[in-house]
């Protein structure tokens, strides 16, 4: 590395940059915790301010907001069952059950620790292996995205324990929802029923807020019991308990962080898929898969480490290839362009100063999340637990409306949010969970477009199956994972019944 290491460190650790990282993390955490307000939005608003700064300082602040926002998404997921960002969808699976039974403080601490681990792993990969890893973004093509989406969909089987059929019906419904609007391929207008408001499709964030949050709100009103079990007084952060759990789950954390980094590199995937896949992997390799979805700490650790690892991962193709890994990366790339910084492998050698200062800044911001997150998390938890229901419900209801409006500053998204919410509540009464629907909605487009492109390219080259699977080694690997994920539970069941051993 042809640059002055001491200079980079002195810049990254300069009081001003540290202050920016601090402000960025706090701001990002709050924005991420509020559903509907996204990292992309926050960064876009703040981009002009960074023009007045030194480029590296501006970048540090944007990076800190980004990583803070991904982490903040866990707050709403754990405390009110609403993913603050799509990246936190899978955190609701175990986070909310934990909070409900009175372990919300532990869940928050675990989310903080896991986010820091994931963020650090992602940042280390970014600093050390970027030019090499960027090639993954190019090796992943349409057929791989198709199979990756299918792998994500297999999670429906494990999420709908007890009633796989209802899970599949929910998933299929989600897939139908994902088709609404103008198709990217073919340009057909589907299921809009003549309404121009539906041309843009169902917005994922407004559907998330509706499907997860509204049923919880209705239940809070309908039932007399407390919303969350209060934690006994003076229990603190439960930091040592959480550290112990982390030690037990060291491998899980590491695997999820690596999965998060790798999926973060893929421009068409992102935090939601990263956390879903690592959740699925954690569940598959766990000794107690039946505990997942009922408040299993390992589930939170998997999803939160994975989604924060995507931050570092996403910057890899952004900085090396000029291809944004995630939507916030796209905004940051735009800001770089306006600053006159050219991305590319040479960014790591020539203009190394700026890039390395930024990467150290990102690392510092991630580590700062530990004390800040523990502190903010504790107050957020106390606030939610101690606020009386009569106050909490209208407050959250108001936030859902503001949040879904804020996505595109469009009242139409509020209508979608409320309708999805009422629908989700009714379906919930009939025993259909929201998660399979959300999986279908999130993954449907990726699966459809991946398949259609593979089909069209295969058609042009007269080699459809080769394009979809046979000539593509990465696809083999993903298909193997799909087979294992789907086959293993069946095999286990078969063995158990074969040996006559009762489960």
């Amino acid at each position: 590395m042809a640059f002055d290491f001491g200079f980079v460190l002195s810049q990254a650790f300069s009081p001003f940059n540290l202050l920016l990282a601090l402000v960025g993390v706090v701001l990002g955490t709050v924005i991420g915790a509020l559903p509907g307000l996204s990292a992309t939005m926050a960064i876009a608003v703040l981009v002009p301010f960074t023009f007045a700064m030194d480029p590296a300082s501006g970048l540090i602040m944007l990076g800190a907001i980004y990583t803070g926002a991904i982490y903040g998404g866990a707050y709403a997921a754990i405390l009110v069952n609403t993913p603050g960002t799509p990246s936190a969808i899978a955190t609701t699976f175990d986070g909310y059950p934990m909070a409900k039974r009175g372990d919300g403080d532990l869940a928050m601490t675990l989310a903080t620790l896991a986010s820091v681990v994931g963020g650090v792993v992602g940042a280390i990969f970014l600093m050390t292996l970027s030019p090499l890893l960027a090639n993954i973004a190019l090796a992943f093509q349409s057929s791989e995205y198709f199979w990756l989406a299918i792998l994500g969909l297999t999670l429906i089987a494990s999420l709908s324990t007890g009633n796989v059929l209802k899970g599949l019906i929910g998933g299929a419904f989600g897939l139908v929802l994902s088709m609404i609007g103008v198709a990217v391929i073919g340009g057909d207008i589907r299921f809009t029923f003549g309404s121009s408001a539906l041309l843009g499709g169902i917005d994922i964030v407004s559907a998330l807020i509706g499907l997860y949050c509204i049923p919880v709100l209705i239940d809070l009103v309908a039932r007399p019991d407390r919303h969350l079990e209060p934690a006994p007084l003076g229990r603190g952060f439960r930091l040592f308990e959480a550290l112990g759990l982390c030690a037990q789950n060291a491998f899980n954390l590491l695997r999820s962080s690596v999965i998060g980094t790798l999926i973060g590199i893929l421009p068409g995937a992102g935090g939601s898929i990263a956390s879903l896949v690592s959740y699925s992997e954690a569940r598959r390799s766990s000794r107690h898969p039946e505990r997942f979805g009922k408040g299993e700490p390992a589930g939170i650790m998997a999803t939160e480490s994975a989604n924060n690892a995507t931050v570092g991962g996403g910057f890899i193709p952004t900085l090396v290839l000029g291809i944004p890994g995630t939507p916030p990366d796209a905004v940051i790339l735009g800001a770089l362009l306006v600053q006159g910084i050219r991305t590319g492998p040479e960014l790591f050698t020539q203009q190394s100063g700026i890039v390395y200062i930024f990467m150290f800044g990102l690392l510092i911001a991630t580590v700062m999340m530990l004390p800040l997150g523990l502190l903010i998390g504790r107050y957020a938890y106390r606030f939610i637990v101690n606020t009386p229901k009569a106050l909490l419900v209208p407050l959250i209801a108001f936030m859902t409306v503001v949040g879904s409006f804020a996505i595109h500053s469009n009242p139409h998204d509020v209508v979608v949010m409320v309708s999805m919410g009422v629908l989700g509540w009714l379906l919930g009464l009939a025993g259909y969970g929201p998660s399979p629907i959300v999986l279908g909605l999130v993954l449907g487009q990726i699966a459809e477009q991946g398949f259609m492109r593979a089909y069209m390219i295969g058609g042009a080259r007269d080699n459809f199956w080769g394009q979809l699977l046979f000539d593509r080694p990465i696809s083999w690997g993903i298909v193997a994972l799909i087979v294992v994920t789907l086959g293993l539970p069946l095999l286990r069941q078969f063995r158990k019944s074969g040996n006559g051993v009762k489960p």
């Binding site: 202050l19 601090l22 402000v23 992309t40 876009a44 981009v47 002009p48 007045a52 973004a137 190019l138 090796a139 992943f140 093509q141 349409s142 609007g181 103008v182 198709a183 990217v184 391929i185 073919g186 340009g187 207008i189 003549g194 121009s196 408001a197 041309l199 843009g200 499709g201 917005d203 421009p267 068409g268 193709p317 290839l321 000029g322 291809i323 944004p324 939507p327 796209a330 905004v331 940051i332 790339l333 735009g334 800001a335 362009l337 306006v338 006159g340 050219r342 590319g344 595109h408 500053s409 469009n410 139409h412 477009q449 492109r453 069209m456 390219i457 058609g459 042009a460 080259r461 007269d462």
Partner: protein
Amino acid sequence: MLKKLKLLAATAVLTVAAGTAMAFLAAGTAMAFPDKPVNYIIPFNAGGESDVSARLQQPYFKKLTGQDLIIQYQAGAGGAQAWSVLNDQVGDGYTIMGTNLPHIILQPLLQDPGYKTDDITNIYMFHFTPDALLVRADSKFETVQQVIDAAKAAPGSLTVGGVATNTANHIANQLFTNLTGAQLTYIPYTGTGATTPALLGGEVDLLWGYTTVAAGQGDKVRMLAVAQDERHPLFPDVPTFKELGIDMTGGAYRGIAVPSSTPEDVRKELSDIIGKINADPEFIKEMEQAGFAMLNVPYDKVGAFMEERKKLYEDIARQLGSLK
């Protein structure tokens, strides 16, 4: 912590004060309109070409008028979500919106996006990203003629990527086929960001992109031709389609529109301001460095420009078979 916050607050106050002082100095030479910040709505997500070009305009607007240009995003339905509510905004000149061609012509032609092309009052078209045919740096294609020959030898066997269906890229592909007889298989992607890895990773053989893509990717891609009247200053070695005997000029045009209730004199003033920014050599340099091509269609010429483009796009849309 508190001290640091105080320090930050103090710095912020100082910055604002300095900024205001400078604004007053600049405003001394500026005109009466605008006398407060102007909202600039971009109907797409941040980070795209529309956003980047607006960001480049921002400082010049401030320099010229002493007022801030505040960029906001209202993305959705390929821009239709914002354009369908443009005329609901207050028409006092303090709300302006980015418009894009062929979007605002094709969308109402093909579906009902909640607005009509004529509902949109464009006051200036200030740049475009010329269509460009790109290949990977290691591709066997060196010239457009080689592509045409290969495509004629095996019609439809070459794949070309582009952004979505019924878009500028899709139209460029159809126009290319019409003019050369070369059949390419068009593969739609979700955005410019998704097309670049498809080309670099080898999923598609060719890419319908813009000069901005080539500017961002440097020596990893090769541009075979650009759809401009003259060669782009950033790529003096890349021929135009016209030079090759293929009559293609165009791409994605970007302009600025106002609500229809905006008075005539304000429309003119805004058009003048945008025109002055467009004439600033520094601005031109920055825009061209990013791969944009300058365009000057002020308010009094924009009507004729739209008519000409409308006719072109209608013919192509009919050919694409999407027009009933």
